[in-house]
Point group: C2
Chain length 331, copies 2
């Protein structure tokens, strides 16, 4: 069986990215920096109101997996698209990025491929409104057991918890990975998502997760504290390995009884923060899966996050392997 570095399970989403001002967010009741789920009617209404946009494949877990492939890792993805143009775009972009993606699209007549309206304010911050469409209809039977079992690390996108159908696939993948003796990684995805599923997340983390990703808002939401340091202490107690990101303050890696601070990589101009956490996870997971130490893995994460926020969209525009080599982080 072919060995994969990282296999991810997540929502298959096409991002529709446009610029707006702060007043637009207020008018439409969007909490800046958050992701909220919207239904078909709401996404149509908001799309009609927002300005011209560009479409770029997205999906938090899918972005991470594409990042792993861009570092030269062997990567696979499991996620549900529809048999429509956005589904074709999603499948094309992830496959031609070098990722194994074999989940069959839903038959004609299904709900459409998921889309996310990404509103970018002048400060580069992104606010997301996601219509999941067919994405949560990833059945447990569609989790490719061979693919999952062949991965050094199985990466689960927290957003999948937002719909019960998807949660079943999520748990199934975690079980397959555990039986195969693989590492299981989880991203908390969003502080509001954490708030919606706190007890379940805590239970999952304590029972089944080897590597936890969270940003400051997510980890403090998980532990219901205002103190990052307290949240970090509790994360260190609950997990084998945690990577906590703090935007321009860099990240903190907690593992093996140690706490390692990693600085953020420099960015000339923050254009669009979409995918910063996703790409940090890509670098870190690639590092761990290929046997690199925690500090190097964290630096690979910072490097990938810096690349992604320097342009529109959450898919790398420059091969991350080349960037990492130029920085002396990869041979």
């Amino acid at each position: 069986m072919q060995q994969y570095d990282v296999v991810g399970i997540g929502n298959a989403i096409v991002d529709i990215i446009g610029r707006c001002d702060e007043a637009f967010l207020t008018k439409h009741g969007c909490a800046k920096g958050s992701m909220q789920l919207v239904d078909a009617a709401a996404v149509a209404k908001l799309y009609g109101d927002m300005g011209p946009a560009v479409e770029i494949s997205g999906g938090s877990g899918a972005n991470t997996i594409v990042g792993v492939a861009s570092f030269g890792g062997k990567a696979g993805f499991i996620g549900k698209t529809a048999n429509d143009q956005f589904g074709e775009v999603f499948g094309h972009d992830i496959r031609t990025a070098g990722v194994t993606f074999k989940t069959p699209p839903a038959p004609k007549g299904s709900e459409p491929t998921g889309r996310c309206l990404v509103l970018v304010t002048p400060d580069g911050q992104r606010t997301m409104n996601t219509f999941l469409g067919v994405s949560p209809q990833l059945g447990g039977g569609e989790v490719d057991a061979d693919l999952v079992a062949s991965a050094r690390i199985v990466y689960l996108e927290g957003y999948l918890f937002d719909r019960p159908e998807a949660k079943a696939a999520f748990r199934q993948a975690a079980n397959i990975a555990a039986k195969a003796g693989r590492q299981v990684a989880l991203s908390l995805s969003d502080s509001f998502c954490v708030d919606r599923h706190r007890a379940e997340f805590l239970d999952l983390i304590r029972s089944s997760i080897d590597i936890l990703f969270a940003n400051e808002a997510e980890i403090t939401s998980l532990y219901e504290t205002k103190s990052f340091d307290e949240a970090a202490r509790r994360a260190a107690a609950d997990t084998k390995l945690a990577a906590l990101t703090r935007s321009e303050k860099g990240s903190v890696i907690l593992g093996g009884g140690k706490s390692i601070a990693i600085p953020a990589a420099s960015v000339a101009k923050v254009v669009d923060t979409t995918g910063a956490g996703d790409l940090y996870a890509a670098g870190f997971l690639f590092g761990i899966a290929t046997g690199r130490d925690l500090e190097t893995s964290g630096r690979l994460g910072s490097l990938a996050a810096a690349e992604i926020i320097s342009h529109i969209g959450a898919r790398p525009e420059t091969k991350l392997q080349d960037l990492a080599r130029a920085k002396g982080l990869l041979a």
Copy 2:
């Protein structure tokens, strides 16, 4: 009746833009810098071979019309989309750019919305493979006579000549405009397109066109000469007003017995030349429609072309009115 500055008729296209090297073009038989028409099978094959891409609304005439609106002009567009996701994207992007666009999409089950695979080489040059899809099925009856008659300038995209159905709509619009005493502008679009339809273009230009746009390759192809100066002399004899673009050498405007050279506007880095000619036409048409002199109109064209080649895609990322004000070209 509401007065429009410019109303355009053209193909409704979504661009799928990706980077490639020169070897990819050679391998796939693409003449660098050209536009070639491909069928559904060929576009699927090429799409499968090209790398990850982004989707941005395009279409030569549509890009021009969006540019006119970005300068603050009152603009309308006529073009055919399908009832699919790319059609929704095209309609959204042009309407929210401030353009009147009322052509109804074709019913479900039609050919899909047109798409153009835009391959950008490291030098920023773009090579296009277009699958027109439903776009040429713009019936003569769908040309909004009131809209056309209310425009100071009616702008025709030369690419429409590539399909007989579209040509009928094109001629109808020209006739309506002529009867209403409006100016009719034509872009030659592509040197290979000129080569395919030379006699018809010459006939149309001499009989019905007030303002002609062409680049160096197109105008020399039209007059079957290697000399730009000779081609320019013949264009001056055949038209009331011609704007001939020459990439980094700027443009030459021929009108009222005069020849005015306009320098290219400076660009820090040429990222993607897609839409350079389209946006030059936008600035020039906006200038002429709003009563500005030839030199100012040409400078508005150069400014818009410089904006568009500084980023991926053929739709402005910065409001052209603001750019023109900053340069002192608009009050």
